[in-house]
């Protein structure tokens, strides 16, 4: 590999790493701001203009707190837990294609950490490793509540991984490739985006992504009333900070993966026309690079929307009970995603028709509508006038 390519590649990887951390940092701020705005409050506004230095203040507070390791805890595993959570969270953004490619002289470097041809499998492997961080941390704390919280987190993550994987299979069948870049390139054209070809798969994937990130309405691993705190009950200082931070990094990567898999990644309507116009006016190097930059900006716009959506949902929906969570995962999402796979396969076999899963959506809407019409009307409660 040429030195220039190596340099550009390492710059891209560093940039991806840095941007992931930066976005995760400011997600904590955004979370508090969004929460405040959704609840008619203003949110943090004391540290710096608009409270923009709040994440730094929070991190400073975290660092200066006492780093406590319980006497009966397994010391090394106790330290390993948050490290593993952080590591796995950071690893998965490596395969996401953030843009088309950067041209430099005769080289063409894709804006992506590593372009492995099993990108989806890599993401899944890393995401499943994330359970270890939680499980090891909870077990090493030597606290029954931590262990219970960790078990809850692990069982939740494992159950929802099944549906998550199944919902993607339909996309893999349509694309015929595991490479995320290939999946993105396949979605050229607005109505080729997988959210239009796979509406049901998208809903299932989104739900499972919420569950995988331990976000509301599936934030059961953390619970004050039942579990004292959750798997990180015994953690303090920056170890706790790592766990919380890993959650935000996971949120960013899952938003990125949702945008990549279902919303066309760095593709946007009339991308090729814009690209050609830029190449014509600015030359094949500069024009191409600027077009790549626009694509990357569009992808980040999608990612930010989904991060906002995560927060929006968090402050809208109350959490599920644990049995409801398991029922939803095993009895609803997994059968639905299998049905989704079967229908997509049938559609593909029958004349490469990609929009077959709309059938499920239409049937569901019709069933719901007829059910709603047939259901006995509740008598409106009359409030006595005082």
């Amino acid at each position: 590999m040429e030195l220039t390519v190596l340099v550009i590649k390492s710059l891209v990887i560093l940039a991806v790493f840095g941007i992931t951390l930066l976005i995760a940092t400011y997600s904590t701020y955004a979370e508090r701001k969004v929460a405040a705005f959704l609840q008619d409050r203003i949110g943090p506004n004391r540290a710096g203009p608009f409270g923009l230095l709040q994440p730094i203040a929070d991190a400073g507070k975290m660092f200066f707190k006492e780093d406590f390791i319980p006497a009966q805890a397994n010391k090394w595993l106790f330290i390993l837990g948050p490290c593993l959570a952080m590591l796995t969270a950071l690893m998965s953004s490596a395969v996401i294609p953030f843009g088309d490619s950067i041209r430099y002289g005769s080289f063409e470097v894709p804006v992506q950490g590593i372009d492995v041809n099993v990108g989806v499998l890599y993401v899944f492997g890393v995401v499943s490793l994330g359970v270890y961080g939680v499980m090891i941390g909870g077990w090493a704390s030597n606290n029954k509540f931590s262990l219970l919280g960790a078990i809850r987190a692990a069982s939740q993550n494992i159950s929802y991984e099944v549906a998550l994987g199944l919902s993607i299979i339909a996309i893999l069948m349509m694309t015929g490739s595991l490479s995320l870049r290939h999946i993105v390139n396949e979605q050229n054209g607005f109505f080729q985006w997988n959210v239009f070809t796979q509406p049901l798969g998208f809903v299932i994937f989104l739900t499972c992504a919420f569950a995988e990130c331990n976000r509301t309405p599936f934030d059961l691993p953390e619970c004050e009333t039942e579990l004292v705190g959750g798997y990180h009950t015994e953690y303090s200082s920056m170890k706790l900070g790592f766990y919380l931070f890993a959650e935000y990094i996971n949120m960013f990567t899952s938003s990125a993966i949702i945008s990549t898999l279902y919303f066309g990644g760095f593709q946007y309507p009339f991308m090729h026309q814009v690209h050609d116009a830029l190449v014509d006016s600015l030359g094949s190097t500069v024009g191409h690079n600027i077009a790549t930059g626009i694509g990357t900006a569009v992808l980040f716009g999608k990612i930010f929307f989904f991060i906002f959506f995560f927060m929006w949902v968090r402050w809208t929906i109350p959490r599920f009970r644990f049995d409801q969570l398991m029922n939803l995962g095993w009895k609803t999402l997994i059968p639905l995603s299998i049905l989704n796979v079967v229908l997509t396969g049938a559609g593909l076999l029958f004349d490469k028709f990609k929009y077959a899963t709309w059938l499920i959506v239409i049937v569901m809407i019709i069933m719901a509508a007829t059910n709603a019409i047939k259901a006995p009307r509740r008598k409106p409660v009359t409030v006595p006038q005082l």
């Binding site: 969004v34 705005f37 203003i42 929006w312 069933m367």
Partner: protein, 173 residues
């Protein structure tokens, strides 16, 4: 639950609609230390020992406020007015020391009601500032007696006209 209800999604979308409406609503927050609400003309805040129109202290150290005080926050030492002090004290007897313990005071306003000379008032436009040291807690006459250049008028027409009062945002100390 009907099937439509069990699909959750319509209800969730409805809920998201409600919350996003709140996202764009005007926030009722008042930026407290910078902006303060007008608390009304009968708010009971900082104590003041009034002077009369000629600038003489009204307090005659009768002790009724101390008796009325349910928190026993007020203590005083009485003294007799000497010759030549008529411009300072209105009555023949006056309070040489008048102290209010702000840690004990509950701002009930009973001292105000008990006072026969209309000497002690709880200002409606000023709060007792936050204290961090114990020796800041006991307010003597130096901090209680009304300053001649800063007379307190209960029926301040400006105060009623403005929602946030300029005197409240000024630092007191």
């Amino acid at each position: 639950m009907t099937l439509a209800e069990r699909m959750y999604l319509p209800a969730i979308l409805g809920g998201l609609g409600i919350t996003i409406r709140h996202f764009f609503m005007k926030k009722p927050t008042i930026q407290y230390p910078e902006v303060k609400r007008y608390l009304g003309p009968i708010f009971r805040g900082h104590h003041v020992l009034k002077r009369d129109e000629q600038g003489r202290e009204r307090c005659t150290a009768c002790g009724l406020c101390a008796v009325a005080c349910p928190a026993e926050a007020i203590s005083m030492v009485a003294a007799e007015r000497k010759k030549g002090e008529e411009a300072l004290y209105r009555e023949e007897k006056y309070a040489a020391v008048y102290e209010i313990n702000m840690l004990r005071c509950i701002f009930c306003g009973l001292c105000e009601e008990a006072c026969p000379k209309q000497a002690v008032y709880l200002r409606h436009d000023r709060m007792v500032p936050v204290f961090t040291e114990r020796d800041q807690v006991i307010y003597g006459k130096d901090r209680l007696v009304e300053k001649l250049d800063d007379r307190y008028i209960r029926n301040n027409p400006d105060a009623q006209a403005t929602p946030t009062e300029p005197t409240l945002s000024r630092s007191v100390g």
